[in-house]
Symmetry: D2
């Protein structure tokens, strides 16, 4: 099979953009296999993801695209690394982490798990089964930034492209988040109606919700507020205690996180303002 390439473009919309971009692919003798486009008409912004095959001269293609004069260099991405290098951060819960490790063991994650960092020891035996470095960095007795700086030091060893928060129960400071802008993915329980604050499953139970959900999203300054990548829900009933709901919610969380990561790691997700375009 011929090698597949991926081209990602996002830039202000202009008449003829699809034509101009595809003409360059054509003139470079490249064959489009799958092409997704979207124009956000509110902000007049253009998004395009093209899978193509053929004999690629990458510098020439990028030069040709820049030559159009329509697309800033910063908005062209050609062949991002196939497997993303990631570090997973977790706390005590194993369901998302375990699911990701199994997928990783069978090469289904589109990523290399370089390490797991946790502020508790409890997940160490699970991580050890998969032969992945585990960094236990307790937050006990530390100021938030002091703890984060220790985490940053551990991360520096690995230089990950993405951080995956697999039920990492720490609030992150803007200082921590900034260098990983749009490169941190979190999984968040969520409900109809949504509950803010401590013990959301208890709140959901008290409110008598009939549905619980899970939301995978990018993290920006506010932990639970970045662009949403994927969401799903599970039906619950009055028979279920807050604990039962939490248990049911975990299955949703692990599947939603895995699907969101698949989309991100396959370069199918654009971030625009506070929304995602998912191809």
């Amino acid at each position: 099979m011929e090698k597949r390439h991926v081209l990602l473009i996002d830039c202000p919309d202009k008449i003829g953009l699809v034509y101009r971009v595809t003409s360059i692919l054509f003139k470079n003798h490249l064959n489009i296999i799958r092409n997704d486009e979207f124009v956000d008409h509110q902000s007049n912004h253009f998004f395009m993801r093209t899978e193509f095959s053929g004999d690629l001269d990458a510098p020439k293609l990028i030069a040709d695209l820049e030559g159009l004069g329509d697309i800033d260099k910063g908005h062209i991405r050609l062949n991002p690394r196939k497997k993303k290098n990631i570090v997973i951060l977790a706390t005590k819960e194993h369901h998302c982490l375990g699911d990701l490790l199994i997928r990783y063991a069978y090469d289904e994650l589109d990523a290399n798990v370089l390490a797991v960092v946790s502020n508790h020891r409890i997940l160490q035996p699970l991580v050890a089964k998969f032969g992945i470095p585990f960094h236990y960095i307790s937050h006990v007795g530390l100021e938030r930034r002091a703890h984060e700086e220790m985490v940053e030091k551990a991360l520096a060893i690995y230089n990950p492209e993405f951080l995956v928060l697999a039920k990492y129960m720490r609030i992150l400071t803007p200082e921590f988040v900034r260098p990983y802008s749009n490169r941190i993915i979190n999984i968040h329980h969520s409900f109809l109606p949504a509950f803010i604050g401590a013990n959301p499953y208890k709140q959901a139970y008290d409110r008598g919700v009939k549905i619980i959900g899970a939301t995978a999203h990018f993290v920006n300054d506010d932990l639970d507020e970045g662009p949403i990548i994927h969401q799903d829900v599970i039906q619950v009933s009055h028979q279920m205690s807050a604990k039962d709901m939490a248990r049911a919610g975990r299955d949703g969380e692990k599947i939603v996180l895995a699907r969101a990561l698949k989309k991100v790691f396959q370069d199918r997700v654009f971030i625009h303002r506070n929304r995602t375009i998912v191809f």
Copy 2:
């Protein structure tokens, strides 16, 4: 087929309650067809819904149940009216109202629709098709309570057991709600995460949600805050505008409202604190 009866009991839990209640049914030669029970162990409260057949002496059965000494008279309901008398309140949107009217026309609503009240004229032709009284009571130029009093006057004609808010876009005062305590059912769009305030679909769009939902609930003092009866969701994508989302949301709203009403009108719903028990 033998006549079916329904007995509803909710009271503080005690050892032997199921035994005591069913022994009375047995001694009255009544045959249980379906029995649902639930104990809320947080509040130690007992809920029981029994369908039974047989030759019923209603005053004797109730006297026997009261004779147990465990259940207050106020917590025994025997054979609530099969078809509830209801008035539907709506504003401009037709999707929930139209769905209910079709179901009513085919006797699938477990209710008699006595009238429709609206603060706009626009739904009059739809209601007229089904030969149901339509009360147009404009709120223009009126204080909230003054408008509500006019609605109350219209409702007084019909003495409805339940009010159904089928996209009635008016905030209700506690004065209006109180006499219909636990007898007003509302349908509310809802989202993950939830949005409060004006134009929620616009907010949902801006936030880039991947799921929109609908929640049917009883109304207490706070319009959007009473016990939830039923909820469901619909998947959406970045391709959909705020208007597309609203359109998709309407299908969810009408189905969720209809299912919630079915449960309520079939006497399958208990309200306890801010939760429902749905059998």
Copy 3:
């Protein structure tokens, strides 16, 4: 707002097709608003749906596209009629028909309902409410083709683009279907696992399924076998009788049919072999 146009192309795939087509749009000073493409790599077939705005010279655009030499005239559709002319066929059940009529009354169907044809009288009062011609054509005492010929005669009055089978419980002969090839849409209950033959809800109940579904599809020779447009499911339980399941299934059927029709009538559906491409 500028007038929007829709261009639909489906043809064997070739290198440079997106480029060639979009270049022609560009050279005609037409602005792409939304572009969807798909290549079926199994059959090497190309599908493209483009919404664009601008000052359209339709004959010139089509001539230019044909001039490419890649796309047969028969595979270019430009600006199909916005509102499709349809006739609805039904039997006794009102749920799908009622839902479509309400949507039609509020101009949400993307179609003109020219008439309703039924082999029973029972739906006549419902159709009358909406002021639409109702043709009662009983099948009693008639051979299948004799009955169909009477239906064909009624249809001939209206010359509909699409026939919608809204729970039309008659098996159609190939003679009837052929002239409406890919223009008949049916709604079919369906289950996991699927049941064939009479009384599927009874079969589903006996099998103890936990999910019932609905499938909207095009009709080809075999009534329940054409390309699927949309599907959805509803959870059921052992508490539900076959009748309860049928009742719950109806809500699914009406929503699934409405969504499928929306997609088809907005020219978002291509048929290829026995599959649909839905943009």
Copy 4:
């Protein structure tokens, strides 16, 4: 917390059964915590699952229940073993097995995984991570029964209460199934409409389904035909290849299997004819 007990009764329905059974619990000073009942009115069969607390004299309770004269001894189950002893059978796919092993490692499975049996070697490293015996029993060159007898010999070591077929791709003979009647649970992909025979995902793709599903069921003589325990579905689209569908389907399969096992292992499932009653 007081010890909880579980009583399961299923027998022909009679007037007064709930009363009789609960009277015996009451007279034994036992306190019902949760009570579920169901009567199948088609077959006139009664099902009851009662959780209760209190000072249990088990032989006396069973003698009292038998003394009623309504319930055969064989239809009373008191306090089934809390954690079921199980053996998992798998072939090459890891997704269900891996998910179960993680749950088991965190004591969330309500079961002891005594061993894993496979007709391939490929899952051995995964099982080894969790310190569970792995029996590789190749079927190559063996008659079906000869292979099964080798499996039976391995199973004899463990005397499991349940066999879990976690994507075990072997057809089982009635000889193998019989001794485990109602004690084998299988996970089966399934579709709307359902596909029989080889390569169902390919068939589903060719048919252009928009939904794929998963069904967990007991196994009787026919591998894919026993009583259904739980089902769920996943939405798919024309963009997905048969391989993509299979990948998406796996997430459904593992969650559906885990939920079904939870219900079975918590003694919440009755089998009656070809249906399940799930409390």
